[in-house]
């Protein structure tokens, strides 16, 4: 037993001296890990190595990651489309209206995306104008009708010869006129 420990210590010494020779790696040196003084990994060249204890930033990083993802999900296609439109189609140039030509309502705008929106999504300004004028006309007619109704009410209440403000009374024929036919009954 003493001999084996002596053997082991001699083997360890030999390994320490020449570490690169085969058979001298730590794993197979007589079941005891020998500290390798030459191959220690040096990560911290300067400064003290600290084990920093701080609260978890997993949730914050997860939030920022998800935020970035969901913003870029639609942001990147929109950016590509807008860049493509600006490079390949480009803005319109101002020109004089040719003789006898009535431009469409979208041809009055500069940027191609605005033109597309006014062409496909919005109503033409002429239609909007007409819609507004129609609404005004309807409201005007409503107001006029209300005023005439008030006028008619006033007349019918005053003169009483119209169908309104008729209070139902008893039938005249039900009155028994026989006591009135002779003066001193």
């Amino acid at each position: 037993m003493v001999g084996t420990s002596v053997l082991r210590s001699v083997a360890a010494f030999a390994a320490r001296l020449s570490p690169l020779k085969s058979g001298n790696t730590a794993a197979n040196l007589l079941t005891r890990a020998i500290p390798r003084t030459d191959k220690v990994v040096v990560r911290w060249g300067h400064g003290k190595r600290l084990f920093v204890i701080k609260p978890s930033d997993y949730y914050d990083r997860r939030f920022l990651r998800l935020l970035q993802f969901y913003i870029l999900l639609t942001g990147v296609p929109v950016a590509i489309v807008v860049t493509g439109v600006n490079i390949f189609i480009g803005e319109a140039e101002l020109a004089e209206i040719p003789e006898g030509y009535e431009p469409e309502h979208w041809e009055y705008y500069k940027h191609p995306i605005t033109r597309w929106i006014t062409r496909n999504i919005y109503d033409s300004p002429v239609k909007d104008y007409e819609k507004m004028m129609a609404a005004i006309q309807i409201e005007k007619e409503k107001a006029d009708m209300r005023l005439t109704q008030l006028e008619v009410r006033r007349h019918m209440r005053q003169q009483g010869d119209g169908p309104w403000f008729q209070v139902p009374t008893l039938n005249k024929e039900l009155i028994d006129n026989s006591p009135k036919s002779s003066p001193d009954h």
Binding site: I87, F88, E93, L94, P103, E107, K110, R115, I136
Partner: protein, 145 residues
């Protein structure tokens, strides 16, 4: 390239570049800097613009300024004729916007003139100043709410 500005309204001041009279063998730093600027900024930007323009040249589109018909004014509308009121109101608003833009252009001209002339602007820009006063007086008298 986009259309150039109106050279009549914004005249270029006379060039004052002196004749090059180099008396030293040392390099001219202004020349060096201008060449540096040209090669690092001007040339890349111009080539990029030309490249994009050549791509855009295939799909050229135009836009126009809309011309509106004149409609009867508010003073020419019968009383209670609300559609007429609406049309007159819309026409007045369009005219107001146009007048605002006109005033802005005149202001811009006066500003450019002052910048050009420097300290002697009061006598050299008399035309622009008179134009500006006239236009603003008319605008205030016509379009004051």
């Amino acid at each position: 390239m986009p259309a150039d500005y109106d050279k009549g309204a914004y005249p270029e001041p006379p060039r004052q570049t002196p004749v090059v009279d180099k008396q030293t063998a040392l390099p001219n730093p202004a020349l060096i800097l201008s060449k540096l600027f040209y090669y690092s900024v001007d040339l890349p930007v111009t080539t990029f613009r030309d490249a994009v323009d050549s791509i855009r040249a295939k799909n050229k589109i135009v836009y126009y300024h809309q011309k509106f018909r004149r409609v009867p004014d508010l003073t020419e509308c019968k009383e209670g004729d609300y559609p007429c009121y609406y049309e007159a109101e819309m026409q007045w608003r369009r005219d107001y916007k146009v007048d605002q833009e006109i005033v802005k252009v005149i202001q811009e001209r006066l500003r450019a003139c002052q910048q050009r002339e420097g300290h002697s602007y009061q006598q050299n820009c008399a035309k622009e100043i008179q134009q500006f006063n006239e236009v603003t007086k008319n605008f205030q008298s016509r379009c004051k709410y």
